[in-house]
Amino acid sequence: MSLAQVETVAPEEAGGSLGRDAWRRLRRNPVAIAGAVLVVLFVAAALLAPWLAPYPPDKPVGQVTPTSIPGPSAEHWFGLDDLGRDEFTRVLWGARWSLVIGVVSLLLGMAGGLLLGLLAGAFGGWVDGVVMRLVDMMLSVPGLLFAIGVAAMLGSGLDAVMIAIAVVNMPVFARLLRGQMLAQRRSDYVLAATAVGVRRRRIVLGHILPNSLTPVIVQGTLTLATAIVDAAGLAFLGLSSNDPSIPEWGRMLADTQRYLSSAPLLAVFPGLAIIVAALGFTLLGESLREALDPKYRR
């Protein structure tokens, strides 16, 4: 940042905290707005599904046969599915399940990753070595394959899926946090705190950790997108709830495969829903990353 630039910045915008600065940049970024709108739509659909949905999600509301599945109409905006249930209702409810799976698996993965990263970053030395080799091992297996393995080991069920996705995300968070903490550890304020005799636990939890969390938040938003896609992928591969009537986008995609030629829209709607939700979180996450990155700070 050169002196000349500082002079051109309006007084109320100059300086300020990183947070306020980031918020300003975010507000002006059309990509961020688009992402936020999609995310709000998704969350609203998820939270309000029981009130917004015109029909019950798990009960047939019209007669279908394998060769005649009615498409979109005034009563059924997205048509009926292969069991005669309202597709629009199921896509709405699907948002709810995606949000639950995404958030729970994200929180689990974050918690596990942070714990590992904290261990490695705070202690360094052989603890760091062991934890990071473990993380390396986990990262060396392709994500979805790893998730399939974990889910298959845990048996069927939604909790297995959520744990599987969490386990896959754990090393990402662990590595991220550890890197941040290592950088902080060598910084002057930590040195100073150590010199004046602040206890190690207090330095780590009170200073290093909060200062290392920013990229974790960004990564969390991005991970929510991949968690939703991963959950759909696992469901598509048959790893999902024991109850097939739960409207879960990946499962809806898989179940309508055989009607791809006669009723292709049944695959299009849940597919679009997955794309929109993942896109929303990705756009928001990327703009958040840009906004929070001091390098972009003007």
Partner: protein, 558 residues
């Protein structure tokens, strides 16, 4: 056919076949007569049939899959045949037969002047040689995966080598004279007659069996290896077609037997070509490279019809049911079982998930089978009645654990998860709570249901031969952990029916059994579904058999 149309143990054979198919395709020539080019003259025509896979083996005694029996049905003949297009018993190699009063002695009068393809005469001694061969199987040939149907019908061998085998029903075969066979049973059974229509009881030339070492089986029970060449290169029977050559994975040829005792085949040749996927078979038919195929996907029927092909319906000889295991207290409660029967909208399940020609099943046997009359209790779809029955049952807020399989599709259960979801919605509407449980079809699901560990489960049955015993007897003749109930009345009616030689009395017994079963509600039968075959426009005279005993000799091309 067993519950799982194509048994798992055949998968190994199919995989091996596929591997061979790839290598054969690499070096195989393209000298196929195009269907359009040949087949104009009624006398010199070739039918190309798209099978789904290679046969496992062409020795009738050793196969239990439809791909093998489709071929051996043309080469071999059984003592008694299945009536064309139906499930009744008709004369085969035996012109007539008699069953003794006590149903332990069957006397068959053989057709005169029948010769095997190798010139040997078919006489009583040859027939008995076949029975004695089956009865005296040893080693691997006794395993369920090799001689499945002998074990199913005759239960055991001369020297049983496994504890799971029982005392054999077979009591000996005597050639009374050249044209008279006397078959003795160790226990009365009236079922053996229709069981003898199974292609697995096809009569082979004893000389060829011996010359080509038919009984040599090595390998393991999971993947038996047939070291003799009888079943792969020299299957010799009496049928209207003779074996003409087999390149695994590519083609199997049959040629007309010009010395056939009956009406000679109109086709001069049949070529079976394996095409694994239903969609690819349909495409081959549309493209004119094959004349006919089985197991068409209901989704392809419209496009086949519009391309000018014929679609033939194989009458339903199966049934899908919702079974109850009475291991748990709640399923022992008859009101609960009745409530479930009333709660399920079977009509909707069949309409939503099955193709044209499928029907609601009301009994544990197809309605086309003899002795079926609907004078038993039926359970109509009635939610109020179900609710009332739940109230009367004394079970507050009943919860049902409901199992359904994944990774399987059968004519009687096209989409198990779909059926499950519809039934779950119905049960919940009536006030039940449903706990879903799922596992892969084989072996997990089959094992759990057979052990009776699923209170509610989806299963079905494909019939083997036209006898109610093959359905009702299989399910309910004695205690089985799958159903986990004892109902002596039902057991007795079915036991008596199996032993009763008098057809009219048997019919009455099966009617009685159906009525008892319907009142007892051991489960809810809900669907019977046809399967579909397709043929080119110019194929005439093909009559699909409900029990897969098609005689292709009646086909002509014009």
């Amino acid at each position: 056919m067993r519950r799982d149309g194509m048994p798992l143990r055949r998968t190994a054979a199919v995989v091996a076949g596929l591997a061979l198919a790839i290598s054969a395709a690499a070096c195989g020539g393209g000298d196929d007569p195009e269907p359009g080019a040949t087949g104009t003259g009624a006398e010199g025509s070739t039918l190309i049939f798209a099978s789904s896979a290679d046969p496992a083996i062409l020795d009738p005694a050793f196969h239990s899959d439809g791909e093998s029996s489709r071929v051996t049905n043309q080469i071999f003949e059984t003592l008694v045949a299945t009536e064309e297009g139906g499930t009744g018993v008709a004369p085969g190699l035996a012109e007539s037969w008699e069953v003794s009063e006590d149903a332990t002695t069957y006397t068959f009068k053989l057709r005169q002047g029948v010769k095997f393809h190798d010139g040997e005469a078919l006489d009583a001694a040859a027939v008995c040689a076949n029975f004695d061969r089956w009865y005296n199987f040893t080693g691997l040939a006794q395993s369920d995966s090799v001689s499945y149907y002998w074990v199913t019908v005759f239960r055991g061998f001369a020297k049983n080598e496994s504890d799971t085998l029982g005392k054999s029903l077979y009591g000996g075969c005597t050639a009374k004279d050249a044209g008279t066979v006397e078959l003795k049973l160790t226990e009365p059974s009236a079922v053996v007659l229709s069981a003898l229509t199974l292609s697995s009881f096809g009569i082979a030339s004893p000389k060829a069996l011996k010359d080509y070492k038919a009984d040599e089986v090595s390998g393991t029970a999971e993947s038996p290896q047939f070291t003799g060449t009888f079943g792969t290169e020299h299957p010799v029977g009496t049928g209207p077609f003779k074996f003409g050559g087999w390149t695994r994975g590519d083609r199997l040829e049959l040629v007309r037997n010009d010395d056939y005792w009956g009406e000679k085949a109109k086709l001069s040749k049949i070529i079976f070509r394996p095409i694994e996927k239903a969609a690819d078979r349909a495409q081959a038919l549309r493209a004119g490279s094959v004349h006919a195929f089985d197991y068409a996907d209901p989704a392809d029927l419209e496009s086949l019809k519009s391309s000018g092909a014929q679609v033939l319906e194989r009458a339903p000889f199966n049934m899908g049911y919702l079974g109850f295991s009475q291991k748990t207290e709640i399923m022992k409660n008859q009101k609960i079982r009745q409530a479930i029967a009333h709660a399920i909208n079977r009509e909707n399940v069949v309409k939503t998930k099955y193709g044209a020609g499928a029907k609601v099943a009301n009994a544990f046997m197809p309605d086309s089978l003899w002795s079926y009359t609907e004078d038993f209790t039926t359970y109509d779809y009635n939610v109020d009645k179900a609710k009332q029955l739940i109230a009367e049952s004394g079970v507050p807020s009943p919860t049902l654990e409901f199992c359904y399989p994944s990774g399987v599709s059968r004519a009687y259960m096209v989409d198990p998860a779909g059926n499950f979801q519809l039934m779950k919605a119905d049960l919940e509407a009536a006030g039940f709570k449903v706990t879903p449980k799922t596992s892969p079809w084989s072996p997990d699901y089959l094992n759990t249901t057979q052990a009776g560990d699923c209170p509610l489960f989806l299963l079905g049955w494909n019939g083997d031969f036209g006898d109610p015993d093959n359905f009702l007897g299989t399910f309910f003749q004695s205690f089985s952990s799958q159903w986990s109930f004892r109902n002596e009345e039902i057991f007795k009616a079915l036991g008596d029916a199996e032993k009763e030689p008098d057809q009219a009395k048997r019919e009455a017994l099966y009617k009685q059994a159906n009525a008892l079963i319907a009142d007892f509600v051991p489960g809810v039968p809900y669907a019977q579904s046809p399967s579909f075959s397709a043929a080119a426009k110019n194929v005439q005279g093909w009559v699909p058999s409900p029990v897969l005993n098609d005689k292709l000799a009646s086909i002509s091309l014009n």
